[in-house]
Assembly symmetry: C2
Homo-oligomer: 227 residues x 2
């Protein structure tokens, strides 16, 4: 219910945080999920890594705030942005005063692996492999795990894999996205048929040259239909 009461001093604080995923090649050249974290510069959890986020401005949409977090930490625009969950347990910040309680509305986002290379890193902003995270501040490990679960789930019944990729891509690249996120190999032939049957993708007729094998066709995401 929406009430017109003024915010009182004794109301929970509201913040927006964002889990930002991209895919980057590791040392072996295979793609792996990575995400940026920021180092906390004050208590609680000073010096530990945390999700980018901050208070919600009074004149700002929730998704806009998430997008702003993303821009401020990575200087990138999201290719995909979706609300994840609102986290509001009383014990999110152990030892803190109740008056400092914060409810975080968390979004998750995808950025292209072509753009993520240009993303800044600094002493206070670094990218981590999603499966090798350190102990994060607050309940942020739990939040990332939930975001990972949601990403994997959604990848299977929705068409968002292409958001990791540039506008034109080969089916092998698209398959690598699925394989990296789901952590499981897929049959190239069956993958092709499935994707084509879904109409998730439209052929451009162009081919990618320079490979040392038969040149694969370039595709574009089908914008019509869901996602």
């Amino acid at each position: 219910m929406v009430s017109s009461a003024q915010s009182s001093v004794i109301a929970p604080n509201l913040a927006v945080s964002t889990v930002i995923f991209t895919l980057r090649p590791n040392a072996d050249g295979c793609l792996k999920l990575a995400l940026p974290l920021v180092k906390r510069i004050r208590a609680p959890f000073e010096g530990q890594w945390a999700l980018p986020g901050g208070p919600l401005n009074i004149s700002e949409d929730l998704a806009t705030a998430a997008s702003r977090n993303l821009l401020e930490t990575t200087h990138l625009e999201p290719r995909y942005l979706e609300q994840l969950y609102a986290f509001g347990s009383l014990d999110r910040s152990p030892g803190s005063n109740l008056a400092d309680r914060v409810v975080s509305i968390v979004y998750w986002a995808l950025v292209g692996n072509d753009e993520a290379g240009t993303a800044v890193e600094s002493e206070n902003v670094q990218w981590f492999w999603a499966d090798e995270l350190p102990a994060l501040a607050f309940d942020h490990n739990e939040i990332v795990n939930y975001a990972l679960w949601r990403l994997r789930n959604k990848l299977e019944y929705s068409r968002l894999a292409h958001r990791f990729l540039p506008e034109l891509f080969t089916l092998a690249q698209l398959r690598e996205v699925y394989e990296a996120v789901l952590n499981r190999e897929l049959d190239p032939g069956n993958f092709r048929r499935t994707v084509e049957a879904e109409g998730a993708v439209v052929p451009t007729g162009e081919r990618l040259a320079g490979t040392k094998h038969r040149p694969p066709q370039l595709y574009r995401a089908n914008q019509t239909g869901e996602n």
Copy 2:
């Protein structure tokens, strides 16, 4: 991110609302989805119907607040409770001052149709058919539609249908739940096999007497496994 800033006067207000579903027989005796609404007694939208809800107490969990809303409006305990979404658009309350902006974290809940009969109705609390709602306050029509979508979706891949029913139920009753929510007839034989194969249900050996046909067996929900 959780910060330790005190809540300022110029922060959005935080509220929790709940969409409460039950199944009730209509005039023809078939089950239909129903939900309780409360009449607003002050501006904005004074006199219009709205979802039950209110501000989040500083020492209260989000789910606890939703459960409390539910108890206060219906005097019932939820059989199922899940966070739906956080609604925070700037235009949720047209004409209102920005300082009165409210972000609502909305939950959805199921209550048993056996208990819902005992639920109170008053001038300011009434149950409505989910498919015959009046124009509600704020963005609450949109919220209910989303909750309906989520309920229907979740019913198909999860085991929550039995939450509408008492502890012991026949497979026909369970099937009626699906038919009422999904608004589509199901083949009794196939339904039985599907439900049994999922292991969603365990036979009790007891039978329901008093029907004017072969007495059906009573089942109990299988608590092991998901949901």
